[in-house]
Symmetry: C2
């Protein structure tokens, strides 16, 4: 049994550092909202690195970037990758780690003159976060055919900017057709973005599933009125209705218990003035669970509360589904392989679900797919304080290089 | 006993119509936020009308406009007036009625060659609404000395625009000094902005008091985090804390019962994204009561809830007082006079408190002061659908002309 392969952590950290300077914001984080100028600059840097490594670079019609290292046979590539886009106040590891670890795997295999049967491809997928355009994981969804190209291109952001136009504006509407053929296998390295690994003192998470996600936007119409002269009993207060719904959403999550989570992350009032009862409120509800039956239960409890509030406060509440992903199960064989390589590398490991959505889940119905998690300090992500220790990044990337090489050596 | 005086309702409605075209917005309402270009245009039109009526026009250091009709003696003027500024989506009668009814009184007295001992002055006070600059009733507060000129000029709006600079920008920083001497008496005609008169089928409200007002802004700092991976028990969610506070504010108002009212009219989240637990929430609480003891009780209940939420959710909550006015009692003699003239004019009348703050309350500690209310359809105000019937406007203005003339005839 040969020794496991090892990546060059100094080189990987150098690339992470360089990418963190693109769209850098105070506190060491980044703002690379999808299709922004900072996103474009990050893509430019990635393409430059891919060209330096002599990868065959393709850009497809939704802006996904794929860099491919040749294999010795004409087979479907083994793929890895993630995303470079971020939330408005994001950290430097979310997504970026998976893309740059892929580059490091390729460069290390080149240095060691390792030849694989299957090509190895590194993907960077558009708009994974969903912070600017809904749904999230838009690029990988189009890449693997679960979302129609044209509807994705027609999506617009809060300012009415259309995805296709924004893609043109940053010069990343490519020629490669979508959906692409499924790869031979897909493995994504990602930070956990939660506290489970750190709390358990474990280095490697072998991800066995992804929570289902349900996003709904509610528009609540009440009656704007004078805050001093309208008796409480006569109010149709859209702002109060929104707050009551947000409180109920928290209660529902508490009643259903872990792993159910529920979040009202966006809430705004009109006219939003101290002395005017709000005419309109707009808010989002984000529900997630690994068990689709419980997720459906959560959705129906929220819907019932919406009806009750609407009736009690005399407001009109309109709902719009922004995203709905069923829970995803990853390949058991890849979960076992992650565990196997962790043991070979003397790294502690557990199997776990993912609380966040990831590009990998778009591949799961089409090829053997899995994910490797490394710890997030204090469980913090989508925040400039996001941090993962260098030694954990090294551990995760070492699993990745061995797993990809093993998959790429399979002779079917 | 001579017949009561009568105003010319067609002329008054014509001026209301003309003023409604300044800053007009869809639905027949107006947007004349204080010191905006629309506010300037409204002021320009008012000054033109005052000059047409040969009033002596003065503009003071905080932008209040006063037009004075001479009396036969060198005595303090009897004053009426209100404001032309509006909330962002306001109606055409709030404030405007009181200013333009004052002009109509003056024009009618001229027509009838009525000479009064005291001059009669019509005031238009800056930033009554408080929708752009806090506190509300800023201009009348400075005019009667309960607010320092310099602090008023230094107030800035949400965009950081300083009151003094905005006043210069619209050309309404005048030379007249503030505080001004108290007038002989002050009477303001205003729409009720609430449902009491309409529900009771009454035309004239003789206003005996104004609710006390307490405005507080809360800034809630939590921890921004990923909506999918952070267990509910580990969250420090500023958005949830804000919603919980908004719900508690409603409960407190319900517990204390009418006439206590409480409103969360402004609430915003950062970063305000569907899949990010909010890092920060900013919100306002507006509490009002005619009884200061109950208002203080309401304030302390809110403060206790703030402490509880802060501890339970692990968020930091900072509070800032935006405005605090004690309840005001108007002159009993003027309340009686309003009732007297209503009876003489065969108009139904009740004594009632005001739910909203008004410029008149700034005069109450300094001279005999009162207000006349006319009905608001459906109690709606601060809304483009605000409406008062022409016959009710006529009724209110007829009370005003007789009351002002009577007060201006007093020989002390």
């Amino acid at each position: 049994m040969s020794e496991p392969l090892k990546i060059d952590i100094a080189r990987l950290m150098g690339r992470i550092e360089a990418m963190a300077s693109v769209g850098q914001i105070e506190g060491g984080g980044v703002n690379r909202l999808a299709l922004s100028e900072a996103d474009r600059d990050g893509r430019d840097l990635l393409v430059e690195w891919m060209q330096d490594l002599n990868l065959q670079v393709t850009i497809d019609a939704i802006g996904n970037i794929v860099g491919q290292r040749s294999g010795s046979k004409n087979l479907a590539p083994v793929m890895t990758g993630s995303h470079l886009d971020s939330v408005a106040t994001g950290g430097r590891y979310d997504g970026t780690l998976g893309v740059l670890a892929g580059l490091e795997v390729v460069e290390r295999l080149d240095e060691l003159n390792v030849e694989t049967r299957h090509p190895i491809a590194v993907g960077c997928f558009s708009n994974e976060e969903g912070a600017r355009f809904a749904p999230d994981m838009l690029g990988s969804a189009v890449y693997q055919g679960s979302l129609d190209l044209q509807s994705a291109l027609n999506t617009s952001d809060a300012d009415g900017c259309v995805f296709g136009d924004c893609l043109d504006a940053i010069g990343y509407r490519g020629n490669a057709t979508v959906p692409a053929a499924p790869p031979h296998a897909f493995v994504e390295l990602h930070i956990e973005q939660g506290p489970v690994l750190e709390n358990a003192g474990i280095t490697i998470g072998a991800v066995e599933s992804v929570q289902g996600i349900s996003w709904t936007e509610y528009t609540i119409d009440g009656v704007s009125n004078h805050a001093g002269t309208t008796p409480m009993s006569m109010r149709k207060d859209a702002g109060y209705a929104a707050s009551a719904l947000a409180c109920a959403v928290r209660e529902i999550a508490t009643e259903l218990g872990a792993p159910q989570v529920a979040t009202v992350g966006a809430l705004s009032l009109e006219p939003n003035l101290v002395n005017v009862v709000a005419r309109r409120a707009t808010m989002t509800v984000d529900l997630r669970n690994v068990d689709d039956a419980i997720l459906i239960d959560a959705e129906s409890r929220v819907a019932a509360v919406v009806d009750r509030i609407s009736e009690r406060e005399g407001v009109h509440i309109q709902s719009r589904i922004l995203a709905r992903f069923q829970p995803v199960r990853f390949s058991e064989s890849i979960v076992r392989s992650v565990t196997h390589w962790a043991e070979r590398l003397k790294l502690s490991t557990i199997s776990m679900p993912s609380g966040a959505g990831h590009d990998a889940q778009m591949f799961a119905p089409r090829c053997p797919t899995g994910m490797i998690f490394v710890p997030s300090r204090d469980g913090i992500s989508h925040n400039v304080r996001e941090h993962t220790d260098r030694s954990d990044i090294e551990a995760g990337a070492n699993i990745l290089i061995n797993l990809l090489t093993e998959l790429a050596t399979e002779d079917y």
